[in-house]
Symmetry: C2
Subunit: 145 residues, 2 copies
């Protein structure tokens, strides 16, 4: 992943970009895959940052609201976040082992979802599409180890 691309730095999107929020975003963007609030908190503390868990939670949800990071829910109900390279609509191909994530577009999926909904009289459609798999690296490690 790219990692250093940031969005509207210095102005924020609705809310001011405080130092803590910037630090949270920066930490998140150094990560390849989706990370939980507690992961980010632990990582920041390990790096010597002075920040509270509550603030990390708040920063992440602010960033999510403003569209600067993507949110997902894991199977066990945990919220995980990721600083995606693109602000436009996309889906994710996620390694279930290491969390490595590839952003994928799927225009045919958008069309499919729309038509399925219309077919049944539904309107104002939205959808969630995530693909999980084992990435090449993890598969190699698994077969070698």
């Amino acid at each position: 992943m790219s990692g250093t691309r940031v969005y509207g730095i210095g102005r924020g999107e609705g809310r001011p970009m405080t130092s803590r929020r910037a630090a949270v975003r920066e930490t998140l963007s150094r990560n390849d895959g989706f990370r939980s609030a507690q992961d980010i908190y632990a990582q920041m503390r390990a790096d010597g940052a002075k920040i509270g868990l509550t603030t990390v939670y708040r920063a992440l949800q602010t960033l999510a609201e403003s569209g600067q990071v993507d949110v997902l829910r894991t199977d066990d109900g945990e919220c995980v976040y990721r600083a995606c390279a693109t602000g436009s609509h996309h889906h994710h191909l996620v390694c279930r082992n290491c969390g490595r994530t590839v952003e994928v577009a799927g225009p045919e999926i958008e069309r499919w979802a729309e038509s399925v909904g219309a077919e049944h009289g539904f309107t104002a459609m939205t959808h969630t599409v995530e693909i999980f798999g084992t990435c090449a690296t993890c598969a190699a490690v698994a077969s070698a180890g």
Copy 2:
């Protein structure tokens, strides 16, 4: 939805079908959409059933493990369950207002997910695809009221 179709009644799938489990499944199958454990519990108690919340949780997860009901997570992290008419792989078109659910097949989606994964060297792919919208009935009510 059909509602009365049941699966392997009287034998279970891995675990015995106890009276409570049967009651939970029966209650769930009387519902159109996805329902939470607490919904089912409340409904059963309202119907006069003598059952504990813990048992409802356990019954639902047993039924889910054995593939007799489908599980989803709502945006706020709640687990919701549904007795689907088909045991084979499918997706859901869910009314975000009333929960009414239509089961949809999407062979092109399966192919798409598979090829996207392969393209990036991923293996053992799985995916989650859910479509949300406002059903015709709810849209009508909203515009009338």
